[in-house]
Structure formats: C-alpha cells, structure tokens
C-alpha cells in the first residue's frame, strides 16, 4: 500500500490517497494515517485495487464520524460501503457493568443471595431425593440395577488402588511421627496405640471421604453438569424419566454403600503401613503388633469410624449431584460447580466429623 498525503495550498480540504489493498491486514497503518489527518478530509480511493468489508467499514466510519468525503470509488466499493452501512447497528456490543464503587456492594449482595439460594436449593434437592427413594420403594421395578452396579464399580472398586496406596503411606507416616515423639519418653511401644486408635476413629474414614469427594464427588458434578448443558436432562424429563431416579439415586446409593467398605479397607492398609514401620524401625514383630492392636483398641473405635462413613458418602454424593444440577449456561460453569461441590462436601464432612467426635465421647465411646 502506498499513501500520499497532500495539503491543498489554498487551505481547502485535506486529501488522503489510499492505494493498493484496503483490507483487514493493512488496517493498522491506514487507520493511523486517517486518524492523524486533520478535518475536513477527503479520501481518494481511486487507487484501491482490493477491499474487504473491514476496509469498507473503515471508510464508512470515517464518513459517519468525521464527515469525510470519499472520491474516486468504483461501484464495487460503493456497494460494499452501502452493505456495511446497512449493517451499522448503532448498539453497544459490550455488557453494561455497574460503576466501580457500587460493584463491590453489588457483588456482596449477589453472593449473599446466592448463598441463601444454595441452602434452600440443597434442602429442596434433599427433599426430591427422599421423594425419589419413596417412589422407588413403591415401584421397585423402576430401580436401575445396572446403573447402580456400574456406579459401585466406578466409585468403589476403581478407587481401591489409590486409597490403598495413600492409606499405607499414611500409616507409615503416622508411625514414624508418633515414634519420634514417644521415644523421648522411652514409650515407643505406645506408637501402636496411636496408630490403631487414630486410624480407626478418624483417619481411615476421613481420608477416604476426602479421596471419594475428590474422585467421585467431582465426577458426579461434572457429568451431571455437562448433561445439563447439552439438554440431556431436559430430554430425559420430557421422555418421562426422572433425572433423580436415573442419575442421582444410583450415585447416592453407590457412595453410601461404598464409603464404609472403602473406609474399612483404608483402615486395614493404614494399620498394615504402621505395622511395617514398627517391624522395620522399632523391631516389633508383626505377630506382636497384631496382638497388641487387639488389646488396646476397643471394638467401639471401629464402630465410631464405620458409622460415620455412609453419612459422609451421602453428603459427598448429594453435594456433587446438587451442584451438577445447578449448572446452566456454559462450560465454565461446569468447572466452577465441580470445584464448589468438592469444597462444599469436604467442608461439610469435616464439620460433621467434629460434631461426631463430641457426640461419641459424650456417649462414652472413648
């Protein structure tokens, strides 16, 4: 593109000649020259051999905003300018944003409303799940046996590896940390009490719950959320399939049934990890370790751990499915809701765990 700028000697309109291609890829330079030229402006386009709609738009807006005159245009250029001028919408394309100082207040308000809504929504969701269960009990034929078994596999069986590995390592860590402290009193042998009671009462169930929330709670939210976006859930409803029955209840059942089993598995492996540490480092042979565990752990410790497990599972699945159902609009929402589901369920699990700790010590299981 070549440009020549001439100012008429008699102080008449400024004349700017544009030559070559007037297309989007040349737009930067041409626009700078046009912006720099003083009013009144005449644009000579007789030398333009190629133009696209963006070039035509540049001419159109210069005429519209600055009253410039265009000379030397071919009929094609005229046509194209006419076409983009017809499409000049004169409407903003950006969303309106509230002014800055109010933005914070607006956000706070929105957040509060959202919080309230989530709480009410969760209660409502809980209610619809109960209704779903009730109707399944009345019509047991509608129970989706295959879906449930598939969830058992995904939530339970496939989690065995990672939960086992994690538990085993934690067993070693707890043993090691305990031993270091207890050695100062010459009481290394109490490491076994520490590992045993901590694992059964707290660690096994809590670690499993966190793992299940991260593995399955997030998957529930993402799966259901994606189905929401692609209108699969609406399609289900119109066919007459209840999404609660088809999607939520199998996931809830899987979490509730699998959590205690996984928690028990986790406890066994944590104890094994601790046992390995005791054997190798404290030189307590495995048989002694086991019989010592039997002496120091009351059976109620096992109940304390296992009673909590299905309840945690229920909370995790409920939060995951609920957040999934809340998704609307776009794919970013799926990510946000998945994060919320995991954070919410882990938070609720830990709060409840604290409540349980107080409760069990009050009933004398300590």
């Amino acid at each position: 593109m070549v440009e020549e700028t001439e100012t008429s000697p008699d102080g008449g309109p400024h004349r700017l000649a544009i030559e070559g291609a007037l297309t989007i890829s040349r737009l930067g330079g041409i626009r700078r020259d046009i912006d720099a030229a003083p009013d009144p402006l005449t644009l000579d386009v007789s030398g333009v051999d190629r133009i696209d709609t963006v070039g035509a738009w540049l001419l159109h807006r210069t005429v519209r905003d600055r009253g410039a005159t265009i000379v030397g245009q071919s009929p094609e250029i005229n046509d194209l300018i006419g076409q983009v001028a017809d499409a000049d919408p004169g409407a903003p394309v950006q969303r309106e944003k509230p002014p800055r100082p109010l933005a914070f207040l607006a956000e706070l308000g929105e957040w509060t409303i959202e919080f309230g809504r989530t709480f009410v929504g969760l209660l409502g969701f809980f209610g619809s799940v109960i209704l779903g269960f009730a109707s399944l009990i009345r019509h047991p034929k509608r129970f989706r046996f295959n879906a449930v078994v598939q969830r058992f596999d995904l939530v339970g069986v496939r989690a065995l590896g990672i939960i086992g590995l994690m538990s085993f390592l934690i067993g070693i860590v707890v043993g090691q940390q305990g031993a270091v402290q207890l050695q100062q009193f010459g009481a290394e042998v109490y490491t076994i009490n520490l590992i045993g009671r901590l694992t059964l009462r707290e660690l096994g169930t809590l670690m499993t719950a966190i793992m299940v929330a991260g593995r399955s709670g997030s998957a529930f939210a993402a799966q259901i959320g994606t189905m929401k976006i692609t209108e699969e859930i609406d399609a289900m409803r119109t066919i007459g399939v209840s999404p609660v029955e088809a999607l939520v209840i199998p996931r809830l059942l899987a979490a509730v049934v699998m959590m205690p089993l996984l928690a028990f598995f986790s406890m066994v492996l944590t104890l094994a990890g601790g046992g390995l540490f005791c054997w190798l480092v404290l030189e307590i042979p495995p048989l002694t370790y086991i019989s010592r565990l039997q002496e120091v752990i009351p059976i109620t410790d096992l109940w304390v751990g296992l009673i909590k497990a299905p309840i945690f599972g229920f909370i995790i699945a409920l939060a995951g499915c609920f957040q999934g159902m809340q998704v609307k609009g776009n794919s970013e929402e799926v990510g946000l809701r998945t994060t919320t589901a995991v954070v919410q369920s882990i938070f609720m699990v830990i709060v409840l765990d604290a409540v349980f700790a107080v409760f069990f010590s009050q009933v004398g299981w300590n």
Binding site: T23, D52, A91, G329
Partner: protein
C-alpha cells in the same frame, strides 16, 4: 470456464476403526464458485469437511487447500492457511463462555492484535448485524440465544476475517424460510464482492437451486457426481433422481422457475 483449483482432494480414505466413511474419494473446488455438497445423513459430509480443514486424520489420500497440502501439517505452518478461511460447524461450536461479540472478535484478536477498542467493537457489531442478528444480540451469551440465532452468530464468527474460503455445514438448517432466503442472498452478495469460494454442505433444496454453481453428490463412500443441477438431473443414478425429483425436489425447482418467470 477453466478451474483454478482452491481445494483438491485425491484418493481420500477416512475410517473410524473398521468402518470406512470414505474410500478413494476425489473432489475439486474451483476458486470463486459455490459448491453444494449433498448426500444422505451419515454419508460423511461433515467428516469430509473436517478432513479438508485438517481436523480429521485421513487413512490415506492427499488434500490441498489454497495450494498447500493439509495432511500432516504442523500447527505453526497451518496457521497461515487458517487465517484465510472461515468455518461454520454443524452445531455452531460457539465459545460458550464468551458473548456473541467476543466470539466474533476472537479470530480478529488472534491475527490482528493491533485492532482494539472501539474499532474492534464496531467491526464485531456490523458483522453481527450483517449475519442477520438483531442489534442487541452482541452482548448476549450463546446460551441466551435461540437455535437459529446461534447459527447466525456462528456465521458472523466465520466471516470475521473476510475469508477467501468459507466452509458452511448446514447453515440454513433451523432457520426460518425468510431468514434462509436472506442467508442465501448474503452469501451470493459476499461471493460477488469478495471473490469468496464456498464449500456448502446442505440439505436445503432451495439453497441448492438458488445459489450453488455446482453440486457434489456423496454416496457409497465417494463423490459419485459433480455438476450443475441440470447435469445431475441428466444422470440416472437412483439416489440423485430420488433426491432432485422427489416431491420436495420438484417443489423447490418448480418454485425457482416460477419465481424467475414471474
């Protein structure tokens, strides 16, 4: 008319696992034409488009677009070609986290980062209006639009860079007849003014009659025929006869002659 080849497909085979969608398929598109691509559902029209634009790795065959081979291209080289085409996917494929205007701006921002601010907004706005959307559609998110409006927004994005080559996968499906006719008109206008070449997959017989220079028929894993509608009508392939001379085909062609007489 001599053919200045803008897309050349030779011996293309595509398969998903064991199932072959195309076997030894040939097709040429000439510069400046609107090529209609027709075929029954599932005959591989969308897959053909995806392999031409390099999204589908073919089992064998050569593909050249704008003089450049497309098979096994690396991303950096392919970028120069991508700038010169616009694509409308069958389901729109709008970015759901961006507004319509932002969707249109994505290609412009990517290739011409110095276009910003007010001018960028204005460009997006006229592209949106040109695609037949109301002026207030710009700030909306795709999920807030109707199905037909989403199609138009996707067209606005395909046209964002004033491409020389436009791929359209069923652009008029889901549009009202008036909107579809306006769409046909827009494509013809752009084609005349911007020297556009269009690869147009469609089931819309009216569109075929109204704007396509040539029509390619896909069946039996191949392009079984390419030509003007008159040339195709002269063939005695059963599917082609059924397609153009079935009740809908006759209605569309009758409509056209009726209109040109009146």
């Amino acid at each position: 008319m001599a053919c200045d080849e803008i897309i050349t497909v030779r011996g293309l085979s595509n398969a998903f696992g064991e199932q072959y969608v195309h076997k030894d398929l040939d097709l040429t598109v000439c510069r400046g034409e609107i090529l209609g691509v027709v075929g029954g559902s599932g005959t591989g029209k969308s897959v053909l488009m995806r392999s031409i634009i390099g999204l589908q790795q073919p089992v064998s065959g050569e593909i050249e677009v704008l003089g450049e081979p497309m098979v096994d291209r690396d991303e950096a080289e392919a970028k120069n070609i991508r700038r010169r085409w616009g694509i409308l996917f069958q389901n729109g494929a709008l970015f759901s986290t961006l507004t319509v205007a932002e969707n249109v701006q994505v290609p412009i921002r990517e290739y011409f980062p110095y276009i910003k601010g007010e001018l960028l907004d204005e460009i997006a706005a006229y592209k949106i209006a040109m695609s037949g959307l109301p002026a207030n559609a710009g700030p909306k998110y795709p999920s807030e639009l109707s199905g037909g409006m989403r199609k138009r927004a996707a067209l606005a994005r395909a046209l964002a860079l004033d491409p020389e080559l436009l791929f359209l996968d069923e652009p008029t499906a889901g549009l009202d007849p008036i909107g579809a006719a306006a769409f046909d008109e827009l494509i013809v206008k752009l084609k005349q003014k911007l020297d556009l070449t269009v690869f147009l997959i469609t089931h819309d017989l009216d569109t075929l009659h109204a704007i396509c220079d040539r029509v390619a028929v896909l069946a039996d894993q191949k392009v079984i025929a390419v030509g003007t509608i008159e040339e195709l009508l002269a063939m005695d392939h059963p599917w082609i006869q059924e397609y153009f001379n079935g009740p809908r085909g006759r209605a569309a062609s009758g409509h056209k002659t009726g209109a040109s007489v009146g």
